[in-house]
Symmetry: C2
Subunit: 313 residues, 2 copies
């Protein structure tokens, strides 16, 4: 059984962690969005990759979901006293990751290789890969002009009104070789409850899973878990983005987003009234508790998702 | 009264601190060696500039003389767990300096301007300047081949035998404009007790103080303080370098090093037997306690040096 999970940041990382508690190392590959990556203070920063890895390694800050637990902030505090920007929170331990990643990229190593080596050092047994080894930059078109993703997301706190998205470099970029292989040999793809617009869409685009899906074998399954619960996102701007794009944010809107690709759709109990509409999109639908508040919740949701698509573990 | 002090790392920083305790902000400019600068983990690091600034700001680690007091090491510890090099000790607070310096250099600011802004942020009132805004790299020719300075100094702990030195980029580099102005209008130049070969020589070369001295006005004084005491260096490889270059390390050897430039020479009480030999080099000589163990010692030595060259404050 080969499962590929597509993940963005916190929500994706949580379900990936749930899946990793159930599946064997060789059964799970997590392919992570790198459209959020950026250079800051001369360092190459991959927020989603780090969130997924820190979460799988048990190093994540349990309160924020991103960054490191037991973190100190001495470097950014001093940089900020010297006039440096402090809007992107760079913890000291986290900085070590960016430093070594930057050093190895400058030495010519690929982001895939670096990520695999970091996973090994952190004791992560499942495979985590960037969607691509080439730079892709999510650009957010807003009423204040086009903004680089972290500028929009962190610096401007998602305040500007969204008009659309552009994945700079995506047309030229190739999927990471091992990510492509993992998708091609996958029995099922799990689209984690990450932001459809800016976390999942770049991955789908790079992996050519949309608009023309990769030829997943007959009977293969693509399951998505709605990040929208009761019309709101648990974390991040997904619901706000739907509204600004004049789409009512709902699990149904997410299902429509993935129509034609997704065969199975998982939505929260609170949205059970939408189940028939989702089924009308030619998807099987599962209603369950999708809110992951604890480690147990992560494993429970992962288990139900796998059962839903007929994976026995 | 305008005094220029030329400094490398720890020893130079201590005397600069002594001078700063006596001279008014407008009376002292410290010009610092940047031949030790290097790029590490993608960051631009200026060890001597930082040691001088941290010392003047009272931020230096009192035990090592370099780095920050009350430092944490979380970033380099994590980078090292990921396989990154740990031979250059990058503290978290110190990293903040490198991050912001790198960011500003990439934004096109000059090292002089950045240094002045950092000094302001750290409450340093005297002027501190890099010798040049262009990169100069001290290369150490050894029996194991040519090594970049930090590779020789920190990574290899000065173990390879020295055969000579080369200041890469020095022929093309200009002195920092304000450093040149400070030297041209200086009433006296103080060569701090730093390593003559690798801390002071690059500064002298860049400022064209050797072999043809800048036209310091008639009666102007250049005073050097020997970093060699009783045939040994207080810190660093100066004495080892002299030996490997087949010169007996002594205050006299240092005086000979600066012959033709220096008008006044300060050596330790322990070396008093060399005073006539130094005077034979056409220098005035002062014998006193040059070992700076405390803040009081720094001020005391600075005071004696200034008095020796006839500066009344």
């Amino acid at each position: 059984m080969k499962i590929v999970a597509l993940a963005g940041g916190v929500g994706g990382a949580k379900l990936a962690h749930g899946l990793a508690q159930i599946l064997k190392p060789e059964e799970l590959t997590v392919i992570v969005n790198t459209g959020d990556d950026f250079e800051h203070y001369g360092l190459y920063i991959c927020p989603d990759l780090d969130t997924v890895c820190y979460t799988l390694a048990g190093l994540a800050n349990p309160e924020t979901g991103w960054g490191r637990a037991d973190e100190s902030w001495n470097a950014i505090e001093n940089a900020s006293k010297l006039g440096g920007p402090a809007w992107f929170k760079l913890g000291d331990r986290d900085l070590g990751t960016h430093l070594e990643r930057t050093r190895r990229l400058k030495a010519g190593d690929s982001l895939s290789q670096i990520t695999q080596d970091f996973c090994k050092a952190w004791g992560i047994q499942h495979t985590v890969l960037p969607m691509s080894d080439q730079p892709i930059r999510t650009m957010v078109d807003t009423d204040e002009g086009e903004l680089a993703f972290q500028e929009y997301f962190v610096h401007r706190r998602c305040e500007p009104r969204v008009k659309g998205f552009r994945f700079e470099g995506a047309d030229e970029a190739e999927p990471a070789a091992k990510a492509r292989e993992a998708v091609e040999s996958a029995d099922a793809v799990v689209i984690c409850p990450s932001n459809p617009w800016v976390s999942v869409d770049p991955v789908l685009k790079i992996l050519s899973l949309t608009p023309t899906p990769l030829p997943l074998g007959e009977g293969n399954r693509v399951v998505a878990i709605s990040p929208i619960i009761g019309g709101e996102a648990i974390k991040g701007p997904a619901a706000k983005m739907y509204r600004e794009l004049r789409i009512e944010p709902s699990a149904l809107a997410v299902a429509k987003h993935y129509q034609g690709l997704v065969t199975h759709f998982v939505m929260d109990t609170i949205d059970s009234q939408l189940i028939e509409s989702v089924r009308g999109l030619n998807m099987q639908a599962l209603v369950t508790n999708t809110l992951m508040k604890s480690h147990v919740d992560r494993k429970q949701l992962a288990s139900e998702v796998l059962q839903f698509i007929g994976v026995t573990v």
